[in-house]
Symmetry: C2
Subunit: 301 residues, 2 copies
């Protein structure tokens, strides 16, 4: 069955055609365009054009689509119709689904939070295959979190979302975009490393990857920053394991590819710090760059 | 049907006979004795004597019991047989269930964490009746937490427990009994108020109720302590609502009877601080002192 997956991010919008049937979902073709802080109607028109172009290239047409799945980097109303808040995009109370539906009046469209979509992608085609309880942390601009409970993506008891990144972590300390001080995402997002890099190493290091690479190459200050970040992340994961006791934890985002310099100390610290003294399995997410479009498409099935 | 409910606490052991059938569970008779840091076999012998006395008084005998439910203030192994850690009692790796079973070889016995039992009691006979997603916070020596997800008590994905009190709150700050620094329970338990009372008002105020009463009577320092506590608790609840988005939050423990001076500012602050800006319902738990024995009995059904 043919689905379209759309992954709306603060940097790029990814659009893909995806075959979902027996076996793993398969990305047939994909494209992307930069996010330009455009109004919602212009954004949805660009998305519609991209979907039509991909269909045309593959010799298909709109009626061949069984559904369209759409991720957004923010919270969604309980009816699944309106993007309530995407702080990093500057979108508030935007009827994204209805806007896109204008271009595809007869096609089923589903909107889902981006981290929830990524968790769904891991569940069906990645590190969570065969698991029933799992936690995905996406280390990006913020801390995206997708929780699998009893085989299903958890979206909060009243379906407003599950914003794990906005648990307190160092209450009263650094400010968070949500308006509170000291949220978990302030200390565990890639943004934390970038900010420390800029402050302690200069403008050329205002980027998580630059700091990670410098740490790997032996720079002592960069190593200090990376170790402090690993310490924060370990405490966050240990605390979350105390609550959810998952079978597995997966990390997404660019930092998740950091390899042993991240996973070795992380696993050790989490094992020491969690209440149950359990050695939790912590791995990189598998679907990575395609996680959003795959998860979006799956959510539309 | 007749059940025995046993609630093992760090101060008292409560034992009750409970009728469970249609309608709310009913406490038929109860007794209690102080916890004396005795070895587990002596503790279980005392529990067995208490159950037999209650049965005898009511003209019943052991075969009339359909089951015995037993709460412990700590974590339980995945098989439900061994009390792993009850830090406040100084019990570690104790086979409580097997010890009690020696006295009742033919009776079904179930062991459950005390806060989980209290949440179960609220679900069947208290503030959570008719709800599917709810959070109970018991403000006591620690922060006991019982989470209802999709109509069931959540005990962690791998059945090791769900220790919400050991999420980070002010990471790196005050020491917690679990070995970490800055856990949520350090700042939201009744113990926090007692410690502040002792430090800032003197030995006569090393007790949460004494501080609360002095604050209600107009003492400025006591009021400051109580307000700071309310602020901590509001941030903790807002963060937990960001993750679980429950239909209702209930508070247990002695402080839960503090009335408007607690609930009015708490509801306002939680509404301001949660990600969804939702006005969460926050109420006192209803089953209160009998929560442990009722929840224990229900867990044995």
């Amino acid at each position: 069955m043919l689905y379209a997956g759309v992954d709306i991010g603060g940097t790029n919008i990814k659009v893909a055609l995806i075959e979902i049937g027996k076996g793993d979902p398969k990305v047939l073709s994909k494209t992307s365009f930069p996010f330009a802080k455009a109004p919602c109607d212009a954004l949805c028109e660009n998305i519609a054009i991209s979907i039509r172009q991909l269909l045309f290239r593959d010799g298909k047409d709109i009626p061949d689509l069984k559904g369209i799945g759409l991720t957004v980097p923010g919270s969604i109303d309980q009816a699944g119709e309106v993007l309530l808040h995407a702080y990093n995009m500057g979108y508030h109370n935007v009827p994204v689904k209805a806007e896109l539906q204008k271009h595809f009046p007869d096609t089923h469209i589903n909107m889902i939070n981006d981290a929830k979509a990524a968790a769904l992608a891991e569940l069906k085609a990645g590190a969570f295959k065969g698991k029933k309880n799992a936690l995905l942390l996406t280390l990006g601009t913020g801390l995206g979190t997708g929780l699998i409970l009893d085989g299903k993506v958890f979206n909060g008891g009243c379906n407003r979302g599950s914003e794990i990144g906005h648990l307190p972590f160092k209450y009263g300390a650094d400010h968070c975009t949500c308006g509170m001080d000291g949220c978990m995402e302030v200390y565990t997002s890639a943004t934390w490393i970038a900010r420390q890099g800029r402050d302690r190493l200069g403008e050329n290091f205002a980027d998580a990857k630059a700091v990670k690479d410098a740490a790997a190459a032996g720079d002592l200050v960069a190593k200090e920053i990376f170790d402090e970040y690993t310490d924060n992340l370990a405490t966050a994961i240990a605390g979350l394991c105390n609550v959810f006791d998952p079978e597995i934890v997966a990390l997404g985002g660019g930092l998740s590819a950091a390899g042993d310099m991240l996973y070795e100390p992380l696993k050790k610290l989490v094992a020491q710090r969690n209440f149950f003294k359990n050695e939790y399995e912590i791995v990189p997410a598998k679907t990575l760059n395609d996680a959003g479009v795959i998860g979006a498409a799956i959510s539309a099935v």
